[in-house]
């Protein structure tokens, strides 16, 4: 019976009812976003002139109602959710990958290299986020992938700092010394000895930043810098819905509630992950 560190964390997580429930909610929301639009007879872009700004109902097959242009909100909300989640996931992966590589190298190699790398991060951190996003938008056009990259490219900075901190804390540990004494070269040490031992807290952090990324994307889209028509993201939908709040509140409620549910459950799950890892040994 092998009780590897991952398995023990998994066991601790399973015992945490709140975390499990949150994970189920996230899974449900993801499933809804993927499968949901197929269930509806409507699609993303079709303008239904007969039901402009209609209330939610079953009679006209617009389950969440329609927006100002007669587009079905059920499909748009779920499609929007899909986009937001994709952004969150992709940007999260980019930021994790970049941050991990950068932080592990800086932390392990140390010395002048570390100094240079950290100066670079500090300069990048000083750049206003919005300028950077605008800059990338200008270069890559209104490409959603550019958006992912922009957000990920910004998020990796903090990940890098965290990874570097974790790496520094294990740098002097005896098993790293043992690896050096065994004749291992630096790439092997970083890949086999540093990364597996720092990735725990980093994954937890990454999980907790996905909601932040989604929120940031929503914010950008709200400002008009993110997803463009006719595609939707939760942010753009919320922007539209905010304008119609008095007359047609469901236009705000649908995407808003979805976003809240997603963020809260991701946060709770992230907390559960962190506790599960903390309980190891």
């Amino acid at each position: 019976m092998s009780a590897g560190p991952w398995r023990e964390a998994a066991r601790a997580l399973r015992a945490d009812k709140g975390g499990v429930a949150a994970l189920l909610v996230v899974a449900l929301l993801v499933a809804a976003a993927i499968v949901g639009p197929a269930l509806s007879p409507n699609d993303l872009e079709t303008l239904d002139w007969t039901h402009v700004a209609a209330d939610p109902g079953f009679a006209h097959a617009h389950w969440f109602g329609t927006d100002r242009l007669g587009r079905d909100l059920f499909v748009r909300t779920l499609e929007g959710a899909r986009v937001s989640m994709a952004v969150g996931l992709l940007a999260g992966i980019v930021s994790l990958g970049l941050g991990l590589a950068f932080g592990a190298v800086a932390g392990y190699v140390g010395g002048r290299t570390d100094d240079l790398m950290m100066r670079f991060i500090e300069i990048m951190s000083g750049l206003p986020l919005i300028f950077f996003v605008i800059f990338l938008n200008v270069i890559f056009g209104r490409n959603p992938f550019a958006l992912f990259f922009a957000i990920g490219a910004v998020g990796w900075l903090t990940t890098a700092r965290i990874v570097r901190g974790q790496t520094l804390s294990i740098r002097r540990k005896e098993y790293i010394e043992a690896a050096i004494a065994s004749g291992a070269r630096t790439p092997r040490i970083i890949l086999k000895h540093v990364v597996p031992n720092v990735i725990g807290p980093v994954i937890v952090y990454a999980t907790l930043t996905v909601p932040q990324i989604i929120l940031f994307e929503s914010f950008l889209s709200f400002l008009g810098l993110g997803i463009q028509e006719p595609r939707a993201s939760l942010g753009t939908l919320i922007a539209e819905g905010a304008g119609e709040m008095e007359a047609a509140p469901w236009m705000l409620l649908a995407p808003g509630l979805f976003l809240v549910a997603l963020m809260v459950s991701l946060n709770i799950f992230g907390d559960g992950l962190r506790d599960a890892f903390g309980q190891r040994r």
Binding site: E174, Y175, A178
Partner: protein, 326 residues
């Protein structure tokens, strides 16, 4: 000594302004075990790491296979590491918690014999596991599932995978229960017999050093103060510090006269007063003079050098010719 395996010449390590290690010179011959005894802070671990270039040395040379390990390039150093291995004091800490035992043992093979197929690697790992007294199924488990003694066996197995010519043992049994220490010491002795590995055995535990060593060096405040054959050191120690160290080990034959509640007076034993001075406060001249029962004014003037008493027995004491111990 003809054709020694390892030659350390004038090794010195400074941490900031203080010299943690100074003017250390010794040889290790093939198949020989050299013991290094001293108390905490004396520089034993510093010596182990400096010799293997795990920490940078400030002065001196470490000659091995015709090269100076301290100045050779990184690739040559890695090549040499195949024959120069180390066993650490804290067995659990020296194992990567995220690697199974099998993976940890396979790593030296992946580094130095990358041409091996997975099956061959597996066979070598299994063989070594059994050689150190563990079982094959243990290779799938993680270090934290094992006891201290078992972890140390794993550490030794890892170090022996490439059948190194020299094994540096840095306090390998100090964190183990007395009842388990013997197992590990006997294992090391067996492995030495089987593979002809030389050892630099570092410990503060005199009985353990005595069991394994052919020659013994005593280190105090970063300097070697005495070196002799094992028998000679324990039978006729020449340095006051060595004598105090030996006297501090409780004598089992005296245990049988344990004091009653009123306490029996203890016979006069050579005592070291106080403790080893912390790094920044080493006295001038002989570092031991503040604690030495035989210190004189001359002892403050100059650092005593290791001088031969005859044969390989050497001692660093200004009064070595005068002092006659009972």
């Amino acid at each position: 000594m003809n054709d020694p395996l390892l030659q350390v010449r004038d090794l010195g390590v400074d941490f900031g302004a203080r010299a943690a290690l100074d003017a250390v010179s010794f040889d290790v011959a093939r198949g020989e075990t050299v013991g290094l005894v001293g108390e905490s802070g004396a520089g034993k671990s510093t010596l182990a790491r400096a010799v293997l270039r795990l920490i940078p040395a400030s002065r001196g040379a470490v000659l091995w296979g015709g090269e100076d390990l301290l100045t050779c390039d990184a690739r040559a150093l890695r090549r040499h590491r195949r024959d120069l291995q180390i066993v650490f004091q804290d067995p659990l800490a020296s194992l990567n918690p995220r690697m199974t035992v099998g993976e940890a043992l396979a790593e030296p093979l992946k580094i130095f014999e990358p041409e091996l197929a997975a099956g061959q690697r597996r066979a070598r790992v299994d063989r070594m596991l059994e050689r150190v007294g563990l079982t094959v199924p243990m290779s799938a488990r993680y270090p934290h599932e094992f006891s201290g003694g078992q972890c140390q066996r794993i550490g030794i197995a890892r170090a022996m995978m490439q059948e190194p010519k020299l094994l540096v043992c840095d306090e390998p049994v100090s964190s183990l229960d007395v009842s388990i220490q013997g197992q590990i010491v006997n294992l090391l002795a067996d492995l030495q017999r089987e593979f002809g590995t030389a050892m630099l055995f570092i410990s503060h535990n005199l009985a353990v050093v005595r069991h394994l060593s052919h020659r013994v060096m005593v280190i105090y405040c970063g300097r070697i103060v005495e070196t002799a054959s094992c028998d000679e050191l324990f039978a006729a120690p020449a340095h006051p510090y060595t004598r105090a160290l030996l006297a501090a080990v409780p004598d089992p034959t005296r245990i049988f006269e344990a004091p009653g509640p009123d306490g029996a007076p203890a016979p006069a034993r050579p005592r070291a007063a106080g403790e080893a001075p912390p790094g920044g406060e080493i006295p001038s001249g002989c570092a031991f003079r503040d604690r030495c029962a035989y210190a004189q004014e001359a002892c403050a003037a100059a650092v005593p050098r290791l001088e031969s008493l005859g044969g390989i027995h050497a001692v660093a004491c200004h009064r070595r010719r005068e002092l006659v111990y009972s």
